[in-house]
């Protein structure tokens, strides 16, 4: 059997134990996520290094942090699909909820600075006539909804399937916000490409791999999903509660998918 995927085993090819242990800590995630804000917003503010237009600097820095944090959370899932055996990737994936919520918080901070920068209510209303601002606000609204539903209660009451569908809107938010960022400066696409292309690359790689493990390419060159019997490789990646092993039908089994967030694939004793 090819290595089990539970969080506790040590037969992973790329494991660096001490590093994995640090990366998996909540304290580590908290330190990084809060530390970025302290380093780029609070330190320059306190030391008077915000330059001649301090509010503009805070506005831009907070926006940058927000969108890069969003980029980080969106790269976690593809990385897990691409490198399921990497302990580092699995460890980082524990922090998906924290990273996502943090992106929203920095986004809200960015919006707060925008209100200040526009000089209050009148300025805010004037700014709301610009499509450039709509893109940012639409993206932020999605992040707010996703943040408010980032708890177990929401997952339970929505049902895993609906919850997952809802949280796929994170990709729409990313598209809107990357566009918002790219037209913010005069250089247009010059800034956005650093985030957009890596994210797109990861998604493409992830989709190709998922299709591949699903047997999509098995009948190449006439591709199509082929779901064969119980020894199909994809079953290794399904979440399969241990207690139910052997108690569900093959058909039910196929419908099981890894659910987000924060659930490590609990394992699977798939048929050899």
């Amino acid at each position: 059997m090819r290595g089990s995927i539970s969080g506790r085993t040590s037969d992973r090819p790329f494991e660096v134990k001490w590093l994995t242990n640090i990366l998996a800590r909540k304290l580590f995630a908290l330190t990084v996520l809060v530390g970025v804000g302290i380093w780029f917003l609070i330190v320059p503010a306190v030391s008077g290094n915000l330059g001649a237009n301090p509010l503009e600097k805070l506005l831009h820095q907070s926006g940058e942090i927000a969108i890069w944090t969003l980029g980080a959370v969106l790269s976690l899932t593809p990385l897990r699909v691409l490198f399921p055996a990497s302990a580092l990737v699995v460890a980082l994936n524990r922090h998906r909820r924290a990273v996502g919520v943090t992106a929203c918080i920095y986004g809200l901070l960015h919006f707060g600075f925008h209100i200040l920068y526009e000089g209050g209510w009148d300025g805010l209303v004037r700014s709301l006539t610009k499509p450039f601002i709509w893109f940012g606000l639409a993206g932020l609204s999605i992040l707010i909804v996703l943040t408010l539903t980032s708890n177990l209660w929401s997952i339970r009451s929505l049902g895993a399937k609906n919850w997952k569908r809802l949280h796929r809107f994170a990709y729409l938010a990313a598209a809107l916000l990357i566009y918002h960022q790219s037209i913010a400066g005069k250089g247009h696409w010059h800034t956005a490409r650093w985030l957009l292309f890596p994210l797109l690359g990861l998604q493409v790689a992830r989709i190709v791999k998922t299709l591949y493990t699903d047997g999509f390419f098995e009948n190449w060159p006439t591709p199509g999903r082929k779901r064969s019997g119980p020894d199909h490789p994809i079953q290794r990646y399904y979440v399969w509660p241990r207690s139910e092993a052997g108690t569900i039908s093959a058909e039910q089994r196929l419908r099981l998918r890894p659910i987000a967030p924060c659930h490590l694939p609990r394992i699977i004793d798939g048929p050899e």
Partner: protein, 322 residues
């Protein structure tokens, strides 16, 4: 092995651990040179000479802007849009002072005129009869503003000396092109060199100014040393920096930002609170130097210079002619 292991006492160093005398002396020499270099760079940092002729100048009382607070020299020289050096506001100050030479500097005046010439900037200042100081409001298209004490001479003087032909309707201003020196020009972010233009009546208006200094000192590199245009009733991007050529032409010249995004940056680019930029309102501006909660100041038509320039645009629809 370390000396300690081969000796009885810590202070008994073996010969191998002693620096030969000549090496010791070379080290002294090295320190002396480095030390001098450091002192030198501290003394001359940020004061590379540009056009030094004409200083100290005296203030022109007609352009004093009484009761208006000047933007601090530090802000004016550290918050710059000068894309030749990068997109950031702080990059020009940092990158343009790494050996970029702005002295000597030759300006070419040509095109449709009777007296074309190539002239060194200091000689040009002597030719136009010295420089004066004017306090001008500066309004960036990005909706922030400054008040800057410029040192220079009216553009009209230079145009008078050049004697443009009757067929000259526009003036084109071309900035330097030196991709070896400046990183921004090595990317294709903008079509280089930076080019701007004015109509001839605009260029001969009393407000149109050629600056060789600010705050009573030669222009710093990041502000467009050694010679730049200042057109205070238009958005800042019209005031081209580090000019190498001024040309009289018949047709409206292609200008950099207008070429790149005509709906965002017009050829006229007059400051106008009632015509918005597609991405932000131009009704108000953030005054540089205010704190985090300072609010904004209402923007004035023609940046407050309507009295001097409004007549230039009579009969022109300012909404269509951005």
């Amino acid at each position: 092995m370390t000396p300690r292991k081969t000796t009885k006492h810590l202070w008994q160093l073996p010969d191998s651990a002693v620096l030969p005398e000549e090496q010791y002396l070379r080290r002294r020499e090295f320190l002396r040179i480095v030390g001098l270099g450091l002192v030198g760079s501290a003394l001359f940092a940020d004061s590379l000479p540009a056009a030094t002729t004409g200083f100290p100048d005296s203030s022109n009382p007609s352009f004093k802007l009484d009761g208006v607070k000047l933007t601090s020299e530090d802000s004016v020289t550290s918050y710059n849009n000068f894309y030749e050096w990068g997109f950031g506001k702080e990059e020009p100050k940092e990158l343009s002072n790494k050996g970029w030479k702005t002295e000597p500097w030759t300006l070419e005046i040509g095109g449709l005129c009777r007296n074309p010439r190539k002239i060194e900037v200091n000689d040009l200042v002597k030719l136009v009869g010295g420089i004066e100081r004017r306090n001008y409001r500066h309004r960036c298209v990005e909706a922030w503003s400054m008040v800057i004490p410029w040192d220079g001479f009216p553009l009209a003087k230079l145009i008078e000396l050049s004697k443009p032909d009757a067929s000259a309707k526009f003036v084109r201003f071309i900035s330097f092109l030196d991709p070896d020196a400046c990183p921004g020009q090595r990317s294709n972010s903008l079509p280089w060199p930076y080019t701007e233009g004015l109509t001839l009546p605009e260029a001969t208006n009393e407000l149109a100014f050629v600056a060789t200094g600010l705050y009573g000192k030669p222009l710093r590199n990041q502000n467009g040393a050694p010679i730049r245009l200042v057109v205070p009733w238009k958005y800042g991007f019209k005031s081209a920096k580090s000019l190498v050529k001024i040309e009289f032409v018949t047709d409206q010249p292609k200008t950099t930002w207008n070429e790149l995004a005509p709906d965002e940056y017009g050829f006229y680019a007059n400051v106008n609170p009632s015509v918005d930029h597609p991405r932000w309102s131009q009704a108000t501006e953030r005054v540089i130097g205010g704190g985090l909660f300072s609010g904004r100041r209402p923007t004035e038509l023609f940046n407050g210079y309507a009295k001097q320039v409004a007549h230039l645009y009579e009969g022109l629809d300012l909404r269509k002619n951005l």
